[in-house]
Assembly symmetry: C2
Homo-oligomer: 491 residues x 2
């Protein structure tokens, strides 16, 4: 994406974006935004020093600082200690892929099992330096604290071993989840919360509760391949709803599908979408809940990244606008806390009884010990503290990967600017093939996920997903550089 | 069942069972066996003292002792310290319910969900003094040891938290399971073992791997209601194979079904059958494996009570005779060790890959910590030590419940003599209704399971299942007495 290293001051074009008016600091900010967006100022390149620019433009140092601050807020520059301000990845967002006529709005048989199998075999749950699996780096998991809480729970409730479901365990955790959800506008009922063996069990139970073999479920395009595989195994068909990289699924399309009862349910990832990274605006969440209530068609809300916004507070959920119990909220502690605990949950509204029944006859109960430990973690407020630290670190990691992609991938590469979660969605230039890149990278021990896995119709052949949860090291930089060369060669 | 308290010595009928010859001690043993089987000597009644009988029959004390020992081996008397020998429950075994013509051999839609829901709601996982849930009493769970092993595992592998599947965890446990299985003639391959969230997940994965909605699966009649519910939720139909209370499913019927490919699979509980309690003879296990291989139809072998034989060594499995990988062996640590750990496993032979795939997209992985702890428990030999203690205690508990049933239930009651597991299957006299008994008992806070739940065709309306895992207390005695009165009144 590197195009020019020319001095941006030599190409000043004030007002080029029609915003030449307003306060001076904004004019300066607009100028640099324009350069960054056009690639004149490449990601990773240094902006003029504050002092130099103030002298040259005959403005105060405070004005330049305000301009740079503004650019920072726009996500276009970053400050580096004792070094100055640098342009960062432009997060050029892809235009949404709209349906080409109504052909794309046909239910799709899903047949991803084999291809995804081979991918997972190549990347056993996040090998070192991997951009494949969506797990937090081990350094972000509060290992000492959680192990202490597990020990304490075993000491306080030794009987956790001798019963399928200790009321203090799953029940206690459900109460903490309900209590905590009030902070983001939600009134969950603990009695309707089922604790699950991770978020995938929550999604499976939700799907089984509302849809049967042959039924059609609306999904975002792209969406998480895991849920597509689960649907495939249940014999469900997918109907891909065009989805904007930052605004989410097209609600008019969804409404049309609901109106003609073309789907048994819809599955929507409202926060930290995997792979697009968006956090759905509150209005869209409200609209989703309204659709579900009006048409009495359940919406499965996948919120497993909800605790990992990369900016701002914990986002709300469509569930908070749910009045008839038609929104089934699925979430997890795997993404923001620990995948090894195997803890997720589902508040299934009017489907709670069926979900509980399905849970009882598939895995019977969720292990008591992790429930006890995490209930204590949440109750004590230490979960929120952990989240604050984790979000900052994760935000930094996502940014570093994005920066490196911007520096090392060829001209024309586009990538999302995620608002939540831990993945980047990268569109390769000139129709380069994501599966080829994935294969070639795996041979070098570098793991990414090809876009093809995220759509049953294979709608994203020129994309790859990069997971950014791991610590950023020199090796990561080398890996992204190598990836860039692979992309260059591909196609 | 109490019929007479007359002095057995007054009714001596040597040779009544045509065994009047042979050594004296055997003649004496035969005499008492005859009395016990005819109910002349009622369960709980004392046999003559050794000294008195020796004097009366003019034989040596050693001869009488040998006779009583023989009766003990036949399961007909028990010695009580400083008190003498007592007749025990006769374990009169029910005649098998054979199919009445071929009508019974039709696939059945399963519709047990609602009735069983209500039952489970009435008995939340083993309330005190309950004969409902099949869990070991808390006193038999090695709580201190397991909690210590969990702590040690967390200390040794703190990274158990930060990855979905730690190779040392599920992989380590799979190796221990494979290693241990050699002791009972099995050559499991660790690579084909998937560790699951309890035995029910193992059974669900096995069912999903080999059968799809609408398919017919052969099951024993009666069989565990949980697996019938799981089949119902998967849209599978059941075909009930007549099953002898001690000899197991009718293999000729099963072979006929396999030959005309009337079923997609068969599900058989080979060891400690729930609810019948039988341990299938080795020849039957070999025959089952042969059937599967010959017809290339998978047999799902449910072995969750395999570690709990009530007499003799750990029984073998049909899997040990499996040559083509057609036997899918499902087992669990919930029954013999701890339900709260949520650990089970499945060795799925040629279906191992599909089982692993289904696991990955339903619960992704099994929590690492319990795998690490139980792998260590097995590796150190302490699991076998625990089992020896547990089997003795459980045998005693089953016997005590059986004795109490024999004393308190009305004349004509019949009950199994389980060889494994922890349940008694009781046939009530004169077509008394098991569901009524279950309901009336629940109102008194006593929990049993009605026979109707164990067959999709409702073939056992006059039966109830009593779980005997809990410690035997005075309260238990009162509960069985109260149950006896309820049975007396019912019908």
């Amino acid at each position: 994406m590197r195009t020019s290293t020319a001095d941006p001051r030599a190409r000043r074009r004030p007002g080029a974006r029609g915003r030449g008016e307003g306060p001076i600091y904004r004019q300066i900010a607009d100028l640099f935004e324009d350069q960054i967006r056009r690639g004149v100022l490449a990601p990773g390149e240094r902006l003029p020093s504050v002092r130099a620019l103030a002298t040259e433009r005959s403005v105060s140092i405070a004005t330049v600082l305000q301009a740079y601050l503004q650019l920072g807020r726009r996500g276009l520059v970053e400050a580096r200690t004792r070094s100055g301000y640098y342009a960062r990845s432009p997060f050029t967002e892809r235009a949404p892929r709209r349906a080409a006529g109504s052909a794309r709005l046909q239910p799709q048989e899903i047949a991803l099992a084999d291809v995804i199998d081979r991918m997972l075999a190549a990347d056993p749950a996040g090998a070192g330096g991997s951009f494949g699996a969506t797990v937090l780096g081990g350094d972000l998991v509060p290992t000492g604290l959680l192990n202490r809480l597990l020990r304490e729970a075993a000491r306080r409730h030794p009987e956790h071993l001798s019963t399928y479901e200790l009321p203090a365990a799953a029940g206690g955790l459900a109460r903490q989840i309900a209590r905590r959800s009030a902070a983001f506008g939600c009134r969950l009922e603990p009695e309707r919360i089922t604790i699950t063996c991770g978020g995938m069990e929550a999604l499976n139970l939700a799907l089984r509760a509302v849809a049967s073999r042959g039924d059609v479920v609306a999904v975002e395009s792209p969406t998480y391949y895991g849920v597509l595989q689960a649907m495939e195994a249940l014999g469900l068909r997918a109907l891909e709803v065009p989805t904007h990289p930052s605004e989410g699924p097209d609600l008019a399309t969804l409404e049309a599908l609901f109106r003609r009862r073309a789907v048994a349910a819809a599955l929507v990832m409202t926060n930290g979408h995997n792979p697009l990274g968006f956090v759905l605006p509150e209005a869209a969440k409200r609209a989703l809940a309204g659709l579900a209530a009006r048409h009495e068609i359940p919406i499965i809300e996948d919120d497993v990244y909800g605790d990992l916004p990369l900016r701002g507070p914990r986002p709300g959920v469509a569930k908070s606008f749910d009045e008839g119990g038609h929104v089934i909220l699925c979430s997890s502690f795997s993404k923001a806390l620990s995948p090894g605990l195997r803890l997720g949950w589902v508040e299934a509204g009017r489907h709670a009884r069926e979900v509980r029944r399905l849970k009882a006859l598939t895995t019977i109960a969720t292990a008591n010990l992790p429930c006890l430990a995490v209930a204590e973690l949440v109750a004590s407020g230490r979960y929120e503290r952990h989240l604050r630290r984790t979000r900052l670190a994760l935000g930094d990691r996502v940014e570093r990967v994005a920066d490196a992609v911007a520096r090392h991938f060829p001209e024309g590469t586009r990538l999302t600017r995620p608002a939540g979660g831990c993945v980047l969605w990268v569109q390769l230039p000139r129709r380069r093939n994501g599966v080829e890149v994935y294969r070639e990278a795996a041979r070098s021990g570098i793991h990414v996920f090809p876009g093809a896995a995220f759509s049953p119709s294979g709608a994203f052949p020129d994309c790859v997903r990069l997971s950014c949860g791991g610590a950023w090291t020199e090796r990561s930089e080398r890996c992204v550089r190598a990836l860039g060369r692979i992309v260059q060669r591909a196609g």
